[in-house]
Amino acid sequence: MKSGDQSALAELYDRYSSVVYAVALRVLGDTGAAEDVLQEVFLQLWRNPGAFDAARGSLGAWLAVITRNRAIDSLRKRRPETDIEDVIVSVAPDLAGQADRSRAAEKVRGVLGTMPPAQRTALEMAYFEGLSHSEIADKTGEPLGTIKTRIRAGLMLLRKAFQT
């Protein structure tokens, strides 16, 4: 999408807005706030289309990461911690088509379902609540090292599920 191409933006919105909105809503739990983040993410893409590097991953995954980061910033009422140009997302499925997304969603939910509850909780606290590892350790009463190991192992499980 080149800067100034409003119809291209509209097409991207049609393709990816449901992913972006769903992530924002999951984090914020508020439809108004989620809608604001949705606007902000696509406006950022409009203003700075060069921020996304197609050689390094899928636009859908990149948008999901940006959305989650912005939503967490909004949740914690802080200024954006990373510029969108700094976010590089490699690989990951595109999440553009509804059918592909539904299949991928089912796979992810399957992996999450097989995770030990403590591992899933740590991962979701980090991803959807934006808690740091020390905050998660404080909340769960688990050692810092355990939290670190669980989160990494959880991400590896997800990766493995999509490599097979």
């Binding site: 807005s17 999951r26 990461v65 990951a92």
Partner: protein, 269 residues
């Protein structure tokens, strides 16, 4: 363990923005020079993006699409400079402006950035000067306090200090010891006068007699030619409660349990 393995878990947390403090700083320093870890970070962000898939939910309201397109149309109609200003106010970098104004917008952005940076430096400099002035005042006060304490302690503990024991008239001087003990700091200063000299390889040993338990060694000393001696802050267990202090004669290296008889003893005043 190589650097990559060492940072593996931190990298996963960093990918989710869940790493904080010194760990984060160390990792960012490493990422600045490690392409392998930077690549892995991208992979991990992709893995994290998969979590987004577990959140399928309602579609956004229909009005959102029009709201976005209206905002975009408004921006497209605005001048390059005001678009750059809007982007800065939103905390975003300015978008690519139409070619003929690209350098102009970049020049404005660069100038604004320099001004903002200079202003923040000036403010930070002012704050630092204040902190430094405050620290200097505190340091001067601490120095004065230390000097005062040195003046008080010197006559008590300096070997060259003259010690005079006052006794009732026509009474020969007797061996005397005075212990000053601060329990909460485990600080002990002991001063002795008129102590009889000892045979070679023998020494006096001071003991802290606790309310309960065995006597605690509190320093070994040999009196000088005038019979004076000082013990300053021997190692003591924290917070030991002293019921009494006592002195015995031991071998010059000291003992772990007192050898009878006790030659001097005193309880709290």
């Amino acid at each position: 363990m190589n650097d990559h393995e060492q940072f593996a878990e931190d990298l996963a947390l960093y990918a989710l923005n869940a790493l904080s403090g010194e760990d984060r700083a160390n990792l960012e320093k490493h990422l600045a020079t490690c392409s392998v870890c930077t690549l892995e970070l991208g992979q991990l962000r992709g893995d994290g993006a998969l979590l987004a898939l577990s959140t399928l939910g309602p579609k956004p309201p229909l009005r959102s699409r029009q709201r976005l397109l209206d905002a975009v149309a408004k921006e497209a109609a605005a001048s390059p400079i005001s678009r750059a200003q809007n982007a800065r106010e939103m905390g975003h970098p300015p978008a690519a402006a139409p070619r003929r104004s690209w350098w102009g917008a970049l020049g404005w952005a660069a100038t604004a950035a320099v001004i903002v940076f200079a202003a923040s430096l000036w403010k930070e400099n002012g704050a630092l000067k204040q902190s430094l002035a405050s620290a200097n005042v505190q340091a001067a006060e601490s120095t004065r306090e230390l000097e005062d304490l040195r003046r008080i302690a010197a006559p008590i503990i300096a070997p060259e200090a003259q010690r005079i024991t006052l006794v009732a008239v026509k009474t020969p001087p007797q061996p005397q010891g005075k212990a000053f003990y601060l329990r909460n700091r485990s600080n002990l200063v002991f001063v002795a006068n008129n102590m009889p000299s000892l045979p070679p390889q023998k020494a006096y040993e001071l003991w802290l007699i606790p309310a309960q338990g065995a006597p605690i060694p509190a320093g070994v000393f040999r009196p000088d030619a005038h019979g004076s001696a000082t013990v300053v802050n021997p190692p003591l267990p924290a917070g030991a409660e002293a019921k009494a202090f006592a002195i015995t004669v031991e071998n010059e290296s000291g003992a772990t349990t007192p050898t009878m008889p006790i030659v001097m003893m005193g309880t709290g005043e």
